[in-house]
Symmetry: C2
Subunit: 242 residues, 2 copies
């Protein structure tokens, strides 16, 4: 059957994949993905055809998946974390209009906001906003506005892509915005290499977070006004009237 399945593989560790995702990868013919993610799964699915494209060639990667599927193959397009949170499912649907004969299916996975939260304790629990600090495809003014509004509304905020070589001061800029509405004592946390070698957590205040340098493999959590530290963990209560 001609089919592209977009599969969220979770943070990296094989066991953090859903059973359904693992079954789909076992049953497909071809696995397509960014090189780093292919390396995470390759050993668990012997005998598959693996196709990769580098980081910025996402449209090409989608077309590659559909071209393989057109040959009658079942193709799995893998994404780290979830398929639909900064993942490939959107682009796959956009490209799918050129391939009406190919079916598309999406299998969700555990995104870094969830896997990182589990390592840090319970930072989300309640309403939260997920914001990527990457301005590659989004104007910085839009990102700034989201940081302002999410802070003013007392959301827990989870930041993806908090840093890169070219954006080394973006986390500091983001903290300065959040500090306009959130207390400098707001409990924050960072998780590096979630579910992979070198996993590392850090719980601190928003004032301290501003001075930290994090890398692109780090997910950052900023608490709401109720978030507290309990035994080294970052914990947000369920509401405002406990």
């Amino acid at each position: 059957m001609s089919k592209v399945i977009v599969v969220g593989i979770g943070p990296g560790e094989y066991e953090q994949m859903t059973i359904k995702a693992a079954n789909a990868l076992k049953e497909c013919d071809v696995i397509v993905g960014y090189t780093v993610y292919i390396d995470l799964v390759r050993d668990h699915f012997p005998g598959k055809i693996f196709l990769t494209t580098p980081m910025t060639r996402e449209v090409e990667r989608c077309e590659m998946a559909f071209e393989e599927a057109k040959k009658g193959q079942t193709v799995a397009m893998i994404c780290s974390g979830d398929a639909g949170v900064y993942g490939m499912s959107g682009l796959i649907y956009e490209v799918s209009v050129k391939y009406p004969e190919v079916d598309v299916e999406v299998l969700p996975g555990v995104t870094a906001a969830l896997s990182g939260a589990a390592v840090l304790g319970a930072p989300l629990i309640h309403d939260f906003a997920l914001i990527s600090l990457s301005d590659l495809l989004t104007p910085w003014e839009k990102i700034e506005k989201r940081l302002y509004m999410a802070s003013e509304a007392d959301f827990v905020i989870c930041l993806y892509n908090p840093s890169s070589r070219k954006r080394h001061d973006y986390l500091m800029k983001a903290c300065d915005i959040m500090l306009k509405f959130k207390s400098p004592d707001t409990v924050c946390g960072t998780v590096k290499n979630i579910g992979r070698d070198g996993e590392e957590i850090h719980v601190c205040t928003l004032a301290e977070l501003r001075e930290m340098s994090v890398d692109m493999f780090t997910t950052v959590f900023i608490g709401n006004s109720q978030t507290k530290e309990i035994g080294g963990k970052m914990v947000t209560p369920r509401g405002y009237r406990m």
Copy 2:
């Protein structure tokens, strides 16, 4: 070992659980949870001791888990979706201060925002805000403010608990707020009974969503200014400069 593991079991279907979650449930002695969730997993884990408490007895349920763990048992506390998104991990950490001899671990799962998104297409993809319309533990004014701010900042918005017997008009009230900043033509979607019998999706406009009545088993998605409908699916592009 004395341990409480908070386990997110995903939307309901056994295969949507992570491998790690399924292994933890296989290896534990006691499974604690809300009656409805216990019924979802019971048949897959024969020989376990199952303990339940009704919906509103969450603190009691946590204490029950720790009391069992104190006896030397490994106890799994299950949550639907993720353990840390409107889940039990926060309360478990809060109650844990009374039980310093018991270890706590959290295993994440696929929350309804992710599993619902996969069924609808690719509604999230980019920055989004998750808001619960339940005012049981959060003042309605706070919820209103979050709806305003998230709409003004052009977040995709995912609504949990959009309705209940006592709150039948809350979705309409929320739509009226979002309509102050979002176009009535904004692409929206609803998913009912994700990954369970009777799964049902609906893609519509924000103006149409305002007139819909949904039940408490429905998750609601409101697109950002870029979200579109592609072949009956709700799809948000990766950014603003495709």
